[in-house]
Symmetry: C2
Subunit: 223 residues, 2 copies
């Protein structure tokens, strides 16, 4: 029985790792489609989101089966419940990548955002992708230094997100209102992606230490 | 044992009902602060969000205790897992109400959005509040007609959300870029609040019927 249980736990861990990898790939491709106005690639990202959703359902059903059949307690139980929450955050990260691809399609052949803010967004996207890849490493190694790196990346994203609103408020910002709206949404999507990454990192940290790390920013949304 | 279990399930149901009521009140007050530029009320909403977060933690801890001590199976297990997911959605709804209050404070003494879009936003907010109150009724009665009403309200919100972007794209839209950005964020917050309401309604429907209602819009985010 215990052997079956350990195998189930391991499979759930693998599901999480696979979801994380799918999300990182989706984000990387969504951002490439966004910066190159590549609607074909954007369409692929949009279509591939169904696979992330499918993976989430699969993981959640597996977790519920384990709860029903094995009746885990203590840290095993928290690991299963934590996995259900992490899969929800990862699914939302996939949605946010899809939203970026959808903006790309919507504005084609124009770029979604003006060239003046692209360096800021590209830096936010680089940090988001780093967070997604770091989550894969954190899941594998449980090394809390990686969790802290994720928090730090997200703090930088938050600063860049705030800087976008300062740029939009300058007299030099001469963009149309729809472009301003798209710029706002893009910044929000990039910011939320990082928040969800932190959310996953916090849950892993909790599973490792049994308590919320004092160094983690508790103001962040839990889900 | 069974009696203790039933009492625990009932308490979790009551926690959910209380969270829903807190969220509806928070949204109602946040929207009032938003439309009247009442920073004192906005500050109260921001401070009260901690109570929703506390309630979520309390509910989640209780649910995990029930899983550990009672080892529920079948529909009882799905109810507990469903509660964990609903509490996450309700917590996010509280965050979105807080975001509206934060915008109110940020722009004081100016209103956050121009008068021209206020009727559209007020209608979205009315529908959001209806959804939150309907969730309370749905939790209590398990009447699936209420779930369908929630979906319908959310469809209307989505249409109004889309109409905001059409308004922003007209030549008559002569607002500053920061106002356009705030208008975009306000629309997004009001839209997401409804999405999370639908998410909760879908979970209750699932618990009642054992399957995803064919009439429910499956394109909506699960969390």
């Amino acid at each position: 029985m215990r052997k079956v249980f350990q195998a189930e736990l391991q499979t759930i861990g693998e599901d999480l790792a696979e979801m994380t990898s799918l999300v990182a790939d989706a984000f990387e491709r969504a951002w490439e489609s966004f910066t190159t106005a590549d609607t074909e690639l954007a369409q692929e990202v949009i279509a591939a989101d169904a696979r992330i959703d499918f993976k989430q359902n699969q993981l959640d059903e597996r977790a519920i089966d384990v709860l029903a059949l094995q009746g885990p307690v203590a840290s095993d139980l928290r690991m299963i419940v934590g996995s259900l929450r992490m899969s929800a955050s990862l699914e939302r990260m996939g949605d946010l990548a899809r939203h970026l691809a959808q903006l790309t399609r919507l504005r084609f052949p124009d770029p979604v955002v003006p060239a003046s803010v692209l360096p800021t967004f590209s830096e936010m996207a680089r940090l988001d992708l780093t967070i997604a890849r770091d989550l894969g490493e954190l899941l594998e190694t449980r090394d809390l230094a990686v969790a802290r790196r994720i928090i730090e990346s997200n703090n930088q994203i938050d600063e860049l997100h705030a800087s976008i609103f300062r740029i939009v408020a300058t007299p030099e910002w001469n963009e149309t209102a729809p472009t301003t709206a798209d710029t706002t949404l893009t910044s929000r999507y990039l910011e939320r992606f990082g928040d969800h990454g932190v959310s996953v990192a916090r849950k892993i940290t909790y599973l490792v230490t049994g308590e919320w790390e004092p160094g983690l920013n508790l103001d962040l949304p839990i889900d």
